[in-house]
């Protein structure tokens, strides 16, 4: 009897842990949404910030974030898909290339985001950017400074493992018989991959892209030194322009504002926009992945 009570108590305790986590999540989300939801108006989403960020909107930050993640996607998806194809279709599991690239991708996923920021500054801005200036602009400063293109490239490297993991998962879910049928009809390996396997795994590519965008939209540390700006009078129009960004905006506004109480309402609303954006993307990714499971499940 005593043993049973002891047993039940501990089982309950594990259940309580789950409850605590769910409650914490609810508290964080509840607090943010209840304080910020009411401030979201069309004017807020489409307007310029005014009067030291206590009035007006955050359109430049939304625009900057969108442009950043779009540029990032252009770089990360093709590379990610190629590496995933290598892992799933080409790699010889015992080769050094497989073992090294696999461990590189694993480790890339664990590099602290601030280190990506240092890398972006040291490599893209200082080395590549300066090199471009020397080669094409006679040394005049054009690309050797923080810019949206460098931020997008830095973010692309950060999100590379995300894309690889979900594309690879989708490629592996394509039944082996599809490949065999394709070979039997005389298709070459590349034809099989690009016309049979990859189209079937398209939702995986989509999921990877969406998850990368969601991750990229939420990260701030990597872009601190490579192009994010607190306030700009113009929207970025060239690849070497600086840009405003939602996460960075939240960071600066909440830590360096002279009057936090005055900025608080709009700050909360900005957080809701960022949260809404990342959650929407995540839910989209989950939905696409669920569809993928149904389709590949049906094919078998």
């Amino acid at each position: 009897m005593k043993r049973r009570i002891y047993d039940r108590t501990l089982v309950t305790l594990t259940g309580v842990s789950v409850l605590v986590i769910l409650m914490l999540l609810a508290v964080v989300l509840g607090n943010i949404v209840s304080n910020g939801w009411g401030k979201i108006t069309w004017e807020f989403l489409s307007g310029q910030p005014r009067e030291g960020m206590t009035q007006g909107g955050i359109f430049p930050a939304i625009f900057g974030t969108t442009l950043l993640v779009l540029l990032m996607t252009v770089f990360v998806v093709p590379l990610g898909v190629c590496v995933a194809i290598y892992f799933s279709e080409y790699a010889n599991r015992t080769s050094w290339l497989y073992r090294w690239s696999r461990s590189a991708v694993d480790n890339l996923a664990g590099v602290p985001s601030i280190v990506f920021g240092l890398f972006g500054l040291g490599f893209f801005v200082q080395s590549v950017g300066r090199g471009v200036d020397k080669a094409f602009f006679g040394g005049r400063l054009n690309y050797g400074q923080p810019a949206i293109i460098w931020a997008a490239l830095t973010m692309a490297i950060l999100t590379l493992p995300v894309v690889i993991v979900s594309v690879e998962e989708a490629l592996r879910a394509v039944p082996q018989s599809f490949r065999e049928a394709s070979y039997a009809l005389g298709a070459t390996k590349s034809q099989t991959i690009f016309r049979v396997v990859l189209p079937d795994a398209l939702s995986g590519v989509l999921t990877g892209g969406i998850l990368a965008v969601s991750r990229g939209a939420g990260e701030v540390a990597p872009i601190l030194f490579v192009g994010a700006a607190y306030f700009l009078p113009h929207l970025p129009s060239k690849l070497n322009d600086q840009f405003m960004e939602l996460g960075y905006h939240i960071f600066v506004l909440s830590t360096q504002s002279p009057d936090v109480e005055a900025t608080k309402p709009l700050l909360y609303a900005t957080v809701v926009v960022l949260l809404g954006l990342t959650f929407l993307l995540n839910i989209l990714a989950i939905a696409v992945r669920a569809r993928l499971r149904i389709i590949s499940g049906g094919a078998r």
Partner: protein
């Protein structure tokens, strides 16, 4: 055979040759992309390390700071002054002791792990061993939701809301401190640990549970004394990877910890971590100055530590997976 050969026209021969070339080119592109992923890791090491190198070699940097000054206690001011550790890179006499930063990182990370580990382990056990199916379908997306919260949002919440609560509950003198930052950081670490641990527990073969129950073990005994030990490497890996994530996380600690580089063991005071130091100082530093190179040195240190932790974690997970799949066969 000869009749078959005559049926292949020259057009078809060139078509086949063309296809072979395309195939070979694509294969090269794919192999190159895999090679690029390796190159990226090396480039990160190279370019972060390159900017840190003057800390070891440059005489100009050594006029202001040496490795000894970064790790050993120093007499600041007069020679009679007591030895101490200080991080004050922007002052008359720049002081570059890493001790307050290392201690700060340790304190915040420890706090985060103390908060997140029991919750993650117990929640993972509950999900795999005791939860009804419908509840499992709620818990998992909820954890994914938690993982999807950007760290800047958690930092914001800790700074604006959580800090006041923590101060009131523990009656702290300072609003921003190691406890506040640690709890917020714990929220970011829970999904990392939970996911890996839950995976490890799920991978334990059903037979082991059945055998334990058949021998008269209670559900808790089965979970705690049979399933958990069997999945222990995975649980450990989850802990290690969570620890690495906590050490490297920047925005949360930057916003919620107060950022004062104090060398003390109390959790009630403000702390400054390695990552937050880079984030808050690099933007204003003079390019190529000793301070600039020291910040890259700090980055290299952070990279090296998390790299080792990650390598350790992924190796353990890989080994466990092989062991358990071997056990089923």
């Amino acid at each position: 055979m000869s009749t078959l050969a005559t049926q292949i026209t020259t057009a078809e021969v060139s078509e086949i040759r063309h296809r072979r070339i395309v195939d070979a080119v694509i294969e090269k592109v794919i192999y190159t992309s895999a090679f690029v992923s390796i190159t990226i890791i090396f480039l990160i090491f190279l370019y972060v390390g390159k900017e840190a190198l003057p800390v070891f070699t440059s005489a100009k940097v050594h006029e202001e700071v040496t490795l000894k000054m970064m790790f050993l206690p120093q007499h600041y001011g007069t020679a009679e002054a007591p030895v101490s550790y200080m991080w004050q890179p922007i002052s008359q006499v720049p002081k570059y002791s890493l001790a307050p930063l290392l201690l700060g990182t340790f304190k915040v990370t420890l706090m985060a792990m103390l908060f997140a580990t029991p919750l993650s382990v117990f929640a993972a056990i509950y999900t795999t061993e005791f939860a009804p199916r419908w509840l499992r379908e709620i818990i998992k997306p909820a954890i994914e939701l938690l993982a999807g919260i950007p760290s800047v949002v958690l930092g914001f919440f800790a700074l604006i809301v959580l800090a006041s609560w923590v101060q009131k509950i523990f009656d702290f003198e300072y609003r921003l401190n190691a406890v506040n930052a640690g709890i917020a950081l714990g929220l970011a670490v829970i999904p990392v640990m939970y996911t890996i641990m839950e995976d490890a527990l799920t991978a334990v073969p059903r037979k082991q549970r059945d055998a334990a129950r058949a021998l008269g073990a209670t559900p808790w005994e089965t979970a705690w004394k049979v399933v958990l030990p069997s999945a222990l490497p995975g649980v450990l890996a989850g802990f290690i990877l969570g620890f690495g994530r906590a050490m490297g996380e920047t925005m949360i600690v930057l916003m919620a910890s107060g950022n004062a580089a104090i060398t003390s063991w109390t959790f009630a005071e403000s702390v400054r971590t390695l990552s937050a130091t880079i984030a808050s100082e690099l933007a204003e530093v003079v390019f190529g100055s000793p301070h600039y190179h020291v910040l890259f040195f700090v980055g290299t240190l952070l990279f090296a530590i998390t790299f080792i932790l990650n390598w350790l974690g992924t190796t353990i997970v890989g080994r466990l997976r092989r062991k358990l799949t071997g056990a089923i066969a």
